[in-house]
């Protein structure tokens, strides 16, 4: 029983005895670290939001370390990745997506220039050794992630140089060779990685031999064989398959003659070819693709799968693109093609999820051509892989890349369901994790699935308007075969771009919850952040009004049902 004070006064702050937490009837606030859309979209598994947060704190090295915890090759991916992260970026709906790939590239270049050490410890001398076939992006990523898992990696590469498709299939205008060499050299120099060059599977080593000698085998041979291509059985005698043509060009620097070229396909190889041939002198280069061009109404699954800026640059350079079309017939003069008949078509997705292409009769038209180049994909070269290959690919059972053979994993393009460097890098990481789990006998690693936060969950009013940094691009007239077309973003712009990150789904430490709680039920903790935030909900006093969640700019605070 309280003893009355004279005149009924009270001492300061005594309302703390009255716990208003029991006023909450339905929901309570909670920190929910949902995945930012960039992270969710990243095939390599980068958390761009996380490394942008470190950049916002003026810690480029920390940002790079965070980045390379998923992707060891940012200087490369920053140049070649079609960056689905930018497509997914929630800022796209405001003033344009963040220039994520530019900053990624800048970070990668900074790391090379500054000699920042990869955040991996050398594995134990007697650590299990994983055999990795192929020193392309998948294999290199796998080797790197083996180190991160405490394993050693021994790479077997058939060619005299590491790099795989990075070296053989991407022109220097997109990926300068010095950049490629520098980043690969740093990675391959990591203690615990052994690289065997000119070691071809089926010739110098065998799958069974590797299985016997190593704790696990990761197969990342890539796709080396062009698919057969014909139009209703017709195959021109002077047919050049796209990837092979590109490789050849990069080796010898010349294309077959032809003024009017039609490229058939919808990937980066097709795009590279179009642009290189145009620059090499072809008067008219046309890309015929079944996909659609990017646009507000284009379904993501229908969108042409190329680096968006490459598409823009190609259009600048005068490449003609015929979307939603296919080659219906080849018009031959003898064994040579003189024209192609194009027909419009669309992809329709049926109820079973399979898509079907339907061509529209009456839309046929003819293009006169000198050269037709199919770029419709490649297959795994079966040499040494006869035991595991299925329908031209190594078709693994799951995202970890497990093949039916114990301890054998498939990564990268050889899986048949991949197509980008970033996907290959993601494959390498996952396979290394799965291999490590298998070696440790702990089964498959857990899938860290976080829900993705949509733009609608943000409160955008708190973000000051800020336009995307435009990076200098080589003028069309100056574009050749060596000089990189897209320029460097530079430190200041990279930091400015980082400041544009909305921090979707994660704590921005913006103080809004702390500022707006009418009940002082949000406590700021400078040094005690456990869940990545700097705030704790004092549920003794929180009345559950939901203001903090409503005003949280990043959607990091959500009202969840009261737990009893």
């Amino acid at each position: 029983m309280a003893v009355l004070t004279r005149g009924a006064y009270a001492d300061a702050g005594t309302s703390l005895d009255f716990k208003t937490g029991n006023w909450r009837s339905t929901d309570m606030p909670a920190h929910v670290h949902a995945a930012a859309p960039c992270h969710a979209a990243c095939p390599a598994g980068e958390d761009q939001q996380a490394w942008f947060a470190l950049l916002q704190q003026h810690d480029p090295k920390g940002a790079w370390c965070e980045l390379v915890s998923a992707n060891p090759l940012p200087a490369i991916t920053g140049r070649v990745c079609p960056h689905p992260c930018e497509t997914a970026c929630n800022r796209a709906a405001l003033e344009g997506a963040l220039a994520i790939h530019n900053v990624e590239r800048w970070l990668g270049d900074q790391a090379v220039a500054q000699g920042w050490a990869y955040p991996v410890a050398p594995p134990a001398v007697d650590a299990p050794v994983v055999a990795i076939v192929g020193a392309g992006p998948a294999g290199l990523s796998a080797a790197y992630h083996c180190l991160r898992q405490g394993l050693r990696a021994e790479i077997f590469e058939a060619l005299p140089e590491a790099g795989g498709l990075l070296r053989s299939g991407i022109p220097a205008t997109r990926l300068p060779r010095d950049v490629l060499d520098a980043e690969l050299a740093r990675l391959l120099a990591l203690p615990g990685i052994t690289l065997n060059l000119r070691a071809r599977l089926g010739r110098d080593v065998t799958l069974e031999g590797l299985r016997a000698s190593h704790a696990a085998v990761l197969l990342g041979p890539g796709c080396q064989e062009g698919k057969e291509w014909s139009v209703r059985g017709a195959v021109p005698t002077d047919l050049h398959e796209g990837l092979a043509l590109l490789r050849k060009f990069m080796d010898v620097g010349a294309f077959p003659p032809g003024d009017r070229v039609v490229v058939h396909g919808g990937g980066n190889t097709a795009m590279d070819l179009c642009r290189l041939m145009k620059r090499a002198g072809a008067a008219q280069v046309t890309l015929v693709t079944a996909s659609g061009l990017p646009g507000p109404d284009t379904d993501p699954s229908d969108r042409i799968n190329v680096v968006p800026r490459e598409l823009e640059e190609a259009l600048e350079e005068g490449i003609e693109i015929i979307p939603h079309a296919s080659i219906n017939r080849l018009i031959m003069k003898g064994s040579k093609v003189t024209g192609v008949e194009i027909v419009s078509l669309r992809k329709f997705t049926g109820k079973d999820g399979h898509s079907e292409r339907v061509s529209f009769g009456g839309t046929e038209r003819v293009l006169p051509v000198d050269l037709v180049i199919p770029c419709v994909g490649e297959r795994v070269s079966p040499e040494g892989l006869e035991a595991v290959i299925q329908g031209g690919y190594l078709a693994p059972e799951d995202i970890w890349g497990r093949l039916p053979q114990d301890g054998v994993f498939a990564v990268g393009d050889a899986r048949g369901d991949r197509g980008t460097v970033a996907q290959a890098i993601g494959d390498g990481r996952r396979a290394a994790m799965a291999a490590a789990a298998m070696i440790a006998g702990t089964g498959a690693p857990p899938l860290a699935e976080r829900p993705t936060i949509p733009a609608s969950a943000l409160n955008p009013v708190y973000y000051p308007p800020s336009r995307r940094t435009l990076v200098p691009v080589l003028p069309v007239a100056e574009r050749g075969f060596e000089t990189e077309i897209e320029g460097d973003i530079g430190t200041a712009a990279a930091m400015a771009e980082a400041a544009r990150c909305l921090s979707c789904g994660n704590c921005l430490a913006c103080d809004n919850c702390w500022t707006f709680c009418p009940d002082n039920a949000v406590i700021k903790t400078a040094e005690l952040a456990r869940d990545g935030s700097h705030y704790v909900f004092d549920l003794d006093y929180c009345k559950g009004c939901g203001l903090c969640a409503q005003e949280c700019p990043t959607g990091y605070i959500q009202m969840l049902p009261e737990t009893l």
Binding site: A2, L4, R6, G7, A8, Y9, A10, D11, A12
Partner: protein, 391 residues
């Protein structure tokens, strides 16, 4: 030092001697001369106080409330409508147990408008929880004002010093004014622990639920009871210093053996005193009770003073329509348990400034012989002035 001095000026000078930190007041007849004189003392640099010239009595009371709550000695004065406009604040001040001193220059309450003296104003706030002390003359008013600051401080109750408007406030008479040194030595500096203090922040004026409200009111009532000896002690100490007693709670004069007694408050006491002297025994002797403390009501002292009295005349300077005399009713209640309690003759007199002549003494005494007289009357009302249906 004895001086011929106007009542209001004397009060202003007495207040100044008590060195209030804050004075706030709004002018109203007949309190005006007090605040004018205080203003002049401030303007002349003879008084160092924050004089807040407010825009209403409501704010005057609120300002001194705030000032006292902040640990300042504070003072205000008002009358009549001003008391009623303050009413809400007065209850609040008392409920907060804030020590303050206020002079009420008693005046009738409108309507009809009357600027003249009676006790209708302070009676209207008798239940506000303030100590109310009435003064029979200006000497009493000066001495009581100084005592009031000490009483307020010791009891943590606000004190209302009531003096009849015009009759005292505007009258020059001879007053023995205390010296500043006397007051400085007698009145302790203002200290109030329950104050707004950044070093020890507290919250005042809170919401109190039914579980505690009754206790708060009981405590207030008990504090009033404890104030009775404080008032007496203040007067004793003051008398020891100055040789002048004000009479404390209740002063008894006249014939101590008389079986007739008259109770009055304020300046009426002087006229009755003069009337008794002039009567020279023709109407008979009486005990004359100068009832000074109306709140707290000195029931015990009253009963002691009335031992052996057969007829008690109680004079009211206000009326509670529907009941009659207020002092009369309260005296009756106080005497209810008294064995051989006297017969009560309750009269309202001098309402709205009606002159109370010297002959009132004889007239009142004569009236007790009328066995059929009502227990209460407006003694000096001439009903012939009323339409028959309004009588």
């Amino acid at each position: 030092m004895r001086e011929a001095i106007e009542g209001s000026l004397a009060i202003a000078r007495a207040v100044a001697m008590c060195r209030p930190d804050v004075v706030a007041a709004y002018p109203i007849t007949p309190q005006t001369h007090i605040v004018e004189n205080l203003s002049r003392l401030v303007a002349e640099g003879q008084m160092h106080t924050e004089f807040v010239s407010v825009e209403s009595e409501f704010s005057a009371a609120s300002v001194v409330l705030g000032a006292a709550a902040t640990g300042a000695r504070a003072y205000t004065a008002t009358a009549s409508q001003g008391v009623l406009l303050m009413a809400e604040v007065l209850f609040n001040i008392a409920g907060l147990r804030i020590p303050l001193v206020m002079t009420v220059a008693n005046r009738a309450v409108s309507a009809p408008l009357s600027i003249w003296n009676d006790h209708g104003d302070s009676m209207a706030v008798r239940d506000s929880g303030w100590i109310q002390i009435h003064c029979a003359d200006n000497q009493e008013a000066v001495d009581t004002t100084i005592q009031a600051f000490r009483i307020a401080q010791e009891t943590e109750l606000p004190v209302m010093v009531c003096m009849d408007g015009f009759v005292l406030t505007h009258t020059m008479e001879i007053i023995d004014m205390p010296s500043q040194a006397d007051v400085d030595g007698w009145l302790p500096p203002f200290e109030f622990d329950r104050r707004l203090d950044p070093a020890n922040p507290k919250s005042f004026g809170m919401l109190v639920t039914p579980e505690y409200f009754a206790e708060i009111r009981h405590a207030h009532h008990a504090a009033m009871a404890r104030a009775l000896p404080v008032i007496e002690a203040a007067d004793r100490d003051w008398a020891a210093l100055t040789g002048r007693a004000t009479g404390g709670l209740l002063a008894v004069e006249g014939d101590p053996e008389a079986d007739v007694a008259i109770i009055a408050m304020g300046s009426t006491v002087g006229t009755l005193r003069a009337g008794m002297a002039a009567d020279a025994g023709r109407a008979g002797p009486a005990r004359l009770l100068n009832l000074r403390a109306f709140r707290p009501f000195p029931a015990e002292a009253l009963r002691a003073a009335l031992a052996g009295v057969k007829h008690l005349i109680v004079i009211d300077r206000a009326i509670s329509p529907g009941l009659g005399g207020i002092v009369g009713a309260e005296v009756a209640a106080a005497l209810y348990d008294m064995p051989d309690r006297p017969r009560l003759h309750n009269h309202a007199l001098g309402l709205g400034g009606r002159d109370i002549p010297e002959t009132i003494y004889a007239d009142l005494l004569a009236a007790i012989k009328d066995l059929d007289a009502p227990g209460f009357s407006v003694f000096d009302a001439d009903l012939a002035k009323l339409a028959p249906e309004d009588r």
